[in-house]
Structures are given as C-alpha cells and as structure tokens.
C-alpha cells in the first residue's frame, strides 16, 4: 500500500456487472426451473381478525391446481431476532394483507384464479394502527403469547403489552445534566411508515433434491443470512442448504434478512421436492413484504449558555407493524446511538419497538439513523437558534473529537476514527453558508439554506466476520470468491479494484461470478450497514497477502533468493532491484515447472478472513460497553447541506443545491458519487413525499376496508422521477481514512441518505421561521403551517397572484 502511485484505487473503474447493460443479467424474478410450480398467497381483508373457517374446495377444482396450504400446515413460528411470525396466519390474522393461504399450481394463471376462489370467514377483532393507541393500557394485543416466543438474548419484549423490544441507555446523571443546562429544547418528531420500493419485487424459488439438499434462489442482500435464518427457522442442517445469490434488483435494507424464502422451501418439502416459485407483484410487495417502521421520537436536550451540550433525554418509539423483524434491532440501534456526532455527558434514552396491526417492518438504508437524525439535527438547529449561535458553529463546538470523545455507549473514538469537524466545515464552505440565498425572481417564492451532520457505523454483532478467496488462473487472471451481496451498490467492483491494485493486473482479468452460492463462496455475515467494502475488503486484503506469500515462496525458489526479496506487481514476481529476474504470475498459477521437469508450488489460492477488532457488547440496563472497545468496526462521518426554494402559494419545496461531504476516501469516485446522488435523491424524496397511508382516524370508513394500506402503487406512493430531482450536486470525499480499512475506505451507501430530512426541515425553518417536526414536508403541510403560524406570508404572496390575474 505505502506511497507508490495507485493505478486502480481511486479511479473510475467501470462496474463489473455490465451484464445489466447488455441485457442478460439474471434475477430471481426471471429465474425458472423445469417443472416449476407457482405459488399465490391469499391475504386477509381485515387489520385484525379471528380465522373462523377457510374453504378452498372451489380452488382445488381449478385445472392445474396442485395443493392449497393454510397456517395449520406449518404449526411453528419463524423470525430474525424474535420468532413472532407465522408461516401463514394461524388462528388469527394480524394485519390487512396477512397471508392466510398459499395456492400451488402448475401455472401462475391457475394459481391466481384459484386464489380468487378461496373463501375465508373471519371474526373481526379490535385493532391498533398507531404507536399511541398500541401503548394504551387496555390496547388490543397484537401478540397475546409474546412470553412464549423465542428471541435473541439482546431483545427484550414485554409480554402483556405491544412492546416488542425495549433498549435502555443510561450515561452520567440525567438530573445533574439538566441542572447544569441554561437552555432546554423539547420536541416530538414523527416519520410515517414508508416503502423501499426496490424495483425487483421479492421473489423466491426453492427445490429439495432427493438427497435432502435444499436449494434456494431468491432476491436478497445476504446469502449467508438467508442460509442461517432458514436453518434456524426450519431446523434443517446448514450443510443441506444452498442459497444462490443472483443479481438483486435493489434492496435498501428491505431484502436484508429472511423474507419469505421459508414459504417456497416448506411447500417444496411437502410436494416431494418439486421446484416452487413465489413471485410477488409490485402491489403484493406492499402487503406481503416488510416495509420501514414509522417513528415517534420525543426528545429533550439541554445546553449551557456558552453552547455545550450537557443533557439529553429521549423516548424513541418505532411502529414495528405486526412482525418486528429487524425493527427490534433498529430500536436498539437508535437507542444506543442516542444522538448525533456530539459528545454529551448525561444521557437517558428509552427506545421501543411497538407492535401494531399493520404490515410488518424491517431495515431501511440507514437502519434508523435518518429518522433519528431528522430529530437530532432539527433539535441542534433549535438549540443554536435559542442560544443565538450559528448552527454550524454550535455543531463544531460539540462535535466528536477522535481519540478524545466518548460516544453515548462510552466508546472512546479511535484516533483515526475520521474527521467529523472537517466534514462540517467543508459542507458549510461548499454551500457558502455565510452567504444568504439570492432572492428568487418570483416574489411568492422564498429561498434558504439548511444544514445537518451525521455519523454511522454498521450496527453488527461483535462476531460479524467475513472471508475471501482468490484463485490465480493460468492466464494470470484471478477468480475472486466472495459472499458479498450485490444489489447495485457496487461493492464487487470495489473489491475487484483491490485485487487489481495488489497484484498489478487489469480488472478485466478478474472475475467475480454473477451467481454466488453459499456452498461455493466463503462466508460473510451480511451485506448491510455499508459494511461490505470495509469488512469483506479487509478479508480480501488478507487473502491477497496469503496468495502473495505463496507466490513469493515459489518465486524465491526459482531465483534462489529469500522470500522477502521478491516483489509482486504488474502481474509478475521479481527479485527486488533485479528487473531481469522476473516470472509471470501466469507461469506460477498452476505449479511452476523447472527446466528439468521438477514442478514446484501448485495451484495458488489465497484465503483470508476479517474479524472486527475489539468489538464489544453493551450492558442490558445501561447500554454502556462491557469493556473498552467499539460497537462498530468503523464510523463514517459527514455533513450535508441544501439550498431550497419554497413556493408560498403551492407549498411546494424544490431542492436547488445539494452538498454532501464524507470524511472517507472513495475507492472509485464513479461508484461513490452514484451512492451519494442516489442516496440524496432517496433521502430528499423521503423528506418531501413518501408516506404509507393508513386510515388511522377513520376518515374513510365505509369507502375502504378498515386498516388497509391506501396507496399501494406508484400513482399514489410517489417516488422521484428524473424531471423532479435536484441537478446541482457538490460532493466531496475528504480522504481521511481509517488505518485498518482497505486503502482507508469506510462505507458510505447508507450515509448518503442521512442528512436530508433534517437539512431540508432546517432550511424550511430558515426560510419561514416555522419548525416542522413531522415528515413528509408535503405541500399541504407547508401551506397548513404557513396559514397557522405565518398567515401574513401567504397574504403577501396572494397579492402577487391577484396582480398577475
């Protein structure tokens, strides 16, 4: 690594998955096997109901139908951190759309027709759709038998309530902290449930071979997580399970864990091993697939008159829906993170995942941090305004100092943890923070800037390990075997660049198989939390070092020198300082034959692993680390800023400029910018538009079934389009690396999304002097707030409208 000039790292090396552009990329959605059966699920039309009777006699009469399964066929529960999920609903259904039956047929059409002929009799039960209702004393319980569910040791459900998990964080002394505070800001922040809307609807195919081998092809992020969770859920041995990772059409956290893979697997097991495919439609994906939790974040933060944060109290509630999936662990992540990249000596936070009678929820890009930082960074601006201090200056006064600061869980940030202050300063510079926005030509529009900082590391267990294998081929090329999932983020290309750089061979000579199977590639825990490049990259560097050791061993024998005298580069192994004494890697790959025929070495393979360095657990009662160490193997720090324009007549917000700064170096600016821009557009859209609509107030009673998701399609669930996204992006990577990261690089995929809701809400405040604490910042909400709090602005703007008429 050292100081020599880099040839492939830091360069715009094209992506390796070009099959996507050439039209022959293979996704689970497209995947088929001969003799394959199709599954169609039937969902419940009530938010909460007792199943009285399921009559599928007419369904069985449809030509091509093979079987109909109901909950009683699978009398056990599955789940990631808590086994709270029925395979198909048993006894009662817990949310609108809850699958009660699965039809299996020779064709998709037959399965669809038969599904429409299943008649289910229900007895509706009282239900809860909001966090507030779910927490009431006599609230209907989503899970009466919570006490009996198996769960991970770090998950704390409260039987007899709707609380799926409770995390506590206690640092310092909260009373003393607030006693020292001169200014206290208290607010409640809310975000609705939203959808990932990845473009490949979830799909899973399974078959069971005669020897008992279970094969799964599914749309997922992490093949080894699917394998592990399937084995745990179904009690089948790992060695009999093969999970194939194909191209994955978007994940954003929504394909992180076990999804519905167990359904085709169980059905195949019951049908003599025949291949079975369950492919959701885009609409079904809203009802059957886990979405992102809604948030209610209550916080109270105290600061001294000279601008030092001294106390923070929080109650964080996540609307988990009917099954908590990853959401219990996200509640843990936001609870233990507690606040932004700022040191606070006294913290008291309780974080809860709460069951409601809505669609289940799971991870979403950022693992709760976008939602937490919407609150935290809005709070930071509010505190700065109350102090009469510039928000950027206030942040710099409190921001973590690597090597000195301790986080909420009491980790001492490592000296090379990053450059949080520098990122804040750079973002302020790039948005020209101290220069006020120009006045727009139309007097009914108003412009302003907004700022937010962020930090995040992968929220993973201390034993989340990875491994990599590199095989040298006889043409001097390399097969890279890696378990990393590729759902578009580009990690595999970054890993190829590392191989290219370390061996001095062009990326075209390095292959990563487009389909990676768990029985062929080495283990990595999961492809989540922006961890892939860092953790799998370190495993790869170790594998390459292993390969190089083996190359040196052979080359040193050829030239009769010591191993340390051999250097490797440009696809060759040479004796240092003697450029004529070289052997090409291709001639070593399979074994080097000496002039007399004696062959040394052999097929050269390097293997390497990565184990997080001193990652530790936290105390269940205080959330403090159990011994000196870290929760995450790295943290990425950054800051974002926007300039927005608000139309006072329509309430419409346009984001004109986006500034996004990260402390880490970028291994491939083309890929990194793609993550940053894509993340910003997603985060901005979440800030402005996205919301899963449920009739929580009973406004549509009689018009729609109760408890139904009202906007399960792109006409009503608004995602961004090319014509309505910002065009002006200023992106900067500061190049401050972590010493044990591959070429210093830390993850950014999730980080790219974290700043925007807060930055935009802060810009709205700077424009209107109105603090909005609930997303989305939709036009109707902006108009409502102006009417309520600044009616004079609207009157002023409407004058121009009259003039124009």
């Amino acid at each position: 690594m050292g100081s020599k000039e880099l040839k492939y790292i830091g360069k715009r090396i094209p992506r390796v998955d070009v099959d996507k552009v050439l039209g022959d990329a293979e996704y689970a959605y497209d995947f088929e096997l001969p003799g394959m059966l199709w599954v169609k699920l039937v969902g419940a039309p009530h938010p909460h109901a007792k199943i009285i009777k399921i009559d599928y006699s007419d369904a069985l009469k449809v030509p091509g139908v093979v079987r109909v399964f109901t909950g009683e066929d699978f009398p056990f529960k599955v789940g990631i951190y808590a086994a709270d999920r029925d395979v198909l609903a048993r006894e009662k259904t817990l949310y609108y759309g809850h699958p009660v039956a699965a039809v299996v047929a020779e064709s998709l059409e037959a399965a669809e027709e038969a599904a429409s002929k299943i008649v289910v009799e229900y007895e509706p039960l009282p239900y809860v759709l909001t966090i507030e209702d779910a927490l009431k004393d006599n609230a209907p319980l989503v899970h009466e038998n919570l006490a009996e569910y198996k769960h991970a040791p770090f998950i704390y459900p409260k039987p007899g309530t709707n609380i799926a998990h409770h995390t506590k964080l206690r640092k310092g002394n909260i009373e003393d902290g607030f006693a020292k505070a001169d200014i206290v800001v208290e607010n409640s922040y809310k975000e609705p449930m939203i959808s990932h809307y990845y473009l490949e609807p979830w799909t899973g195919i399974a078959r069971v071979k005669k020897d008992g081998t279970i094969e799964v092809w599914s749309s997922h992020q992490s093949p080894f997580a699917v394998r592990n969770l399937l084995a745990l859920s179904l009690g089948v041995p790992i060695t009999k399970l093969v999970v194939h990772h194909l191209r994955t059409g978007g994940g954003f956290g929504g394909k992180a864990g076990l999804l519905l893979e167990h359904i085709p697997v169980l059905i195949s097991m019951k049908l003599g091993g025949r291949p079975v495919k369950l492919r959701l439609t885009a609409r079904e994906n809203f009802f059957f697939m886990a979405q992102r939790a809604g948030y209610l974040i209550k916080m109270k933060t105290g600061v001294t008159a000279n601008g030092k944060l001294v106390a923070h109290y929080g109650e964080y509630y996540l609307d988990a829906g009917a099954y908590a999936d990853y959401t219990v662990n996200i509640a843990r992540a936001v609870g233990l993170t507690a606040f932004g990249p700022y040191e606070i000596p006294n913290i008291h936070v309780d974080s809860y995942a709460v069951y409601t009678n809505k669609v289940p929820t799971t991870a979403f890009r950022g693992f709760g941090m976008q939602e937490l930082f919407f609150a935290v960074e809005s709070q930071m601006d509010e505190l700065a305004h109350k102090l009469g201090m510039d928000p950027v200056e206030f942040r710099l006064k409190n921001v973590f100092v690597p090597g000195k600061s301790r986080t909420a869980i009491n980790e001492l940030l490592r000296k090379d943890a990053g450059a949080p202050a520098q990122a804040i300063k750079e973002a302020a510079k790039l948005i020209e923070w101290n220069t006020p926005s120009e006045k727009p030509r139309e007097p009914w529009k108003i412009r302003a800037k907004g700022f937010a900082a962020f930090w995040k590391g992968p929220f993973q267990p201390p034993n989340a390990t990875s491994s990599a294998i590199v095989k040298l081929n006889e043409d001097g090329g390399v097969d890279l075997l890696i378990g990393t999932g590729e759902m578009g983020q580009g990690t595999t290309t970054g890993l190829v660049q590392i191989v290219a750089e370390e061996l001095g061979i062009p990326p075209e000579k390095i292959r990563v198989a487009p389909i990676r199977s768990t029985d062929m590639v080495p283990y990595t825990w999961q492809t989540v939390g922006s961890r892939g490049l860092f953790t799998d990259g370190q495993a790869l560097v170790n594998a390459l070092n292993d390969l190089k050791r083996k190359i040196r061993a052979v080359a040193s024998k050829i030239f009769n020198v010591e191993e340390y005298e051999i250097e490797i580069g440009d696809g060759k192994a040479c004796v240092k300082g003697e450029p004529e004494k070289c052997v090409e890697l291709k001639d070593l790959a399979l074994g080097y034959m000496q002039p007399t025929g004696i062959t040394i070495g052999g097929p050269l393979i390097g293997a390497g692993a990565h184990v997080p360095e001193r990652n530790v657990l936290t105390h269940p009662e205080t959330g403090q680390i159990l011994e000196e160490g870290h929760l995450a193997p790295f943290y990425t720090f950054g800051a974002g800023a926007v300039e927005i324009e608000i139309n006072l007549l329509t309430g419409d917000i346009r984001v004109l400029k986006v500034v996004s700064v990260f402390d880490t170096p970028a291994l491939n600016p083309g890929l990194a910018e793609g993550q940053v821009i894509g993340g910003a557009v997603m985060g901005i859209n979440i800030a402005l538009r996205e919301k899963l609509l449920f009739d929580v107030k009973g406004e549509y009673k009689g018009l729609f079934p109760e408890g139904m998701l009202l906007n399960p399609c792109l006409s009503n669930y608004i995602v961004s389009r090319a014509a309505d996204v910002p065009k002006d992006f200023k992106i900067k990577f500061l190049g401050v690396g972590q010493s044990d990261a591959p070429y210093g690089a830390k993850g950014i995929g999730e980080l790219a999304m974290l700043a925007w809701p807060a930055a935009i809400a802060n810009a709205v405040y700077n424009a209107l002097k109105i603090r909005i604490t609930e997303l989305p910042l939709s036009p109707d909400k902006i108009i409502d707030e102006i009417k309520k709090k600044r009616p004079e602005l609207l009157e002023e703007a409407e004058k121009f409208l009259e003039l124009n008429l």
Binding site: P14, G488, L714
Partner: protein
C-alpha cells in the same frame, strides 16, 4: 387465440396470443426476452419500456394484438456482432446503472434519444425518461450517460 407477427430485433416471429394479452407478456414469457423487465403492470414504473415502430412504449400497456406487424427493439437487439451500441458503452463508462432492474428500459430510452433527438437538452432528456422509475441512481448518471452517448454517436457538435 390470434396469430400475430412481430419483427423482434430484426427477426420475424409468429406468436399465438389471446386478445387480452400484453406485449410485455409476449416478449417476456413467449419469446423469453428477459431483458424486458416488469414491476407494476399498470404503466406506472416504465421498466418494461421497449422500442416499437421507433416509438418508446410501455409494453405492459400495449395489447399484443395492437403490436401485430410491428417492429420491436429490446436490449438483446442492441449488441450486433459482439459490438455494443454507443448507449451501452456510455452507461458503462458513466456509471449509469446500479441494481440494473430498470436499466434495460433506460438504455432503450437513451438509444431512442440518441437516434431521434440528438440535440435534446438536459431538461428534454429528463422529461422523456421521467416515465421510467429508477430507485438507485438519482438519475444524474443516467442523464450523463445519455448525453455522452449522443456525443459518441454524433460527435461533439451533437
């Protein structure tokens, strides 16, 4: 069942279709052109876009019988004699794709723009591709790729 004739990527195909069947269904499930992706089946996401008689269409919104006699281009038809089209080279060089599930639709839209609107402004490009959803890229690198492909195909003057 009705027999229709399509010219798909230069090859004549005869297919028996039902009167309610979509062009998308014919392309994906009868002709096995799996570059044509599907998501919403209701004209909202646009990822099933193909070129039909030199127009961009959402193939889920076209009845197969309407397409009788039509000339269809899908991404499979862009690579000729092992040579990729300028739009494909541009998407690769400009990082115009991530998960890839919407990519064939954007590649075809870009191909159409390169051939039919080589003087398109950035706003016009954005307007044209706004019928197709991408959830990964934020669109900038897609627009950059299309602009670059125009340059590759027509030179600087465009």
């Amino acid at each position: 069942m009705v027999r229709i004739t399509l010219t798909v990527n230069g090859e004549k195909k005869e297919v028996d279709v039902s009167i309610s069947e979509s062009l998308l269904h014919v392309l994906r499930d009868k002709l096995h052109l799996r570059s044509v992706k599907a998501n919403c089946y209701r004209g909202e996401c646009g990822i099933c876009t193909v070129i039909m008689n030199n127009r961009l269409v959402k193939s889920c919104q076209v009845l197969a019988v309407e397409a009788d006699g039509a000339e269809i281009i899908t991404v499979e038809g862009l690579t000729r004699d092992g040579k990729i089209a300028p739009i494909q080279r541009a998407f690769i060089e400009k990082f115009g794709f991530q998960c890839g599930f919407c990519t064939p639709a954007f590649v075809l839209a870009g191909h159409w723009i390169v051939n039919n609107m080589p003087k398109a402004s950035e706003d016009e490009i954005r307007e044209i591709i706004s019928g197709i959803v991408c959830r990964c890229t934020g669109y900038k690198q897609i627009v950059d790729a299309i602009k670059y492909a125009i340059m590759l195909a027509h030179g600087e003057s465009g």
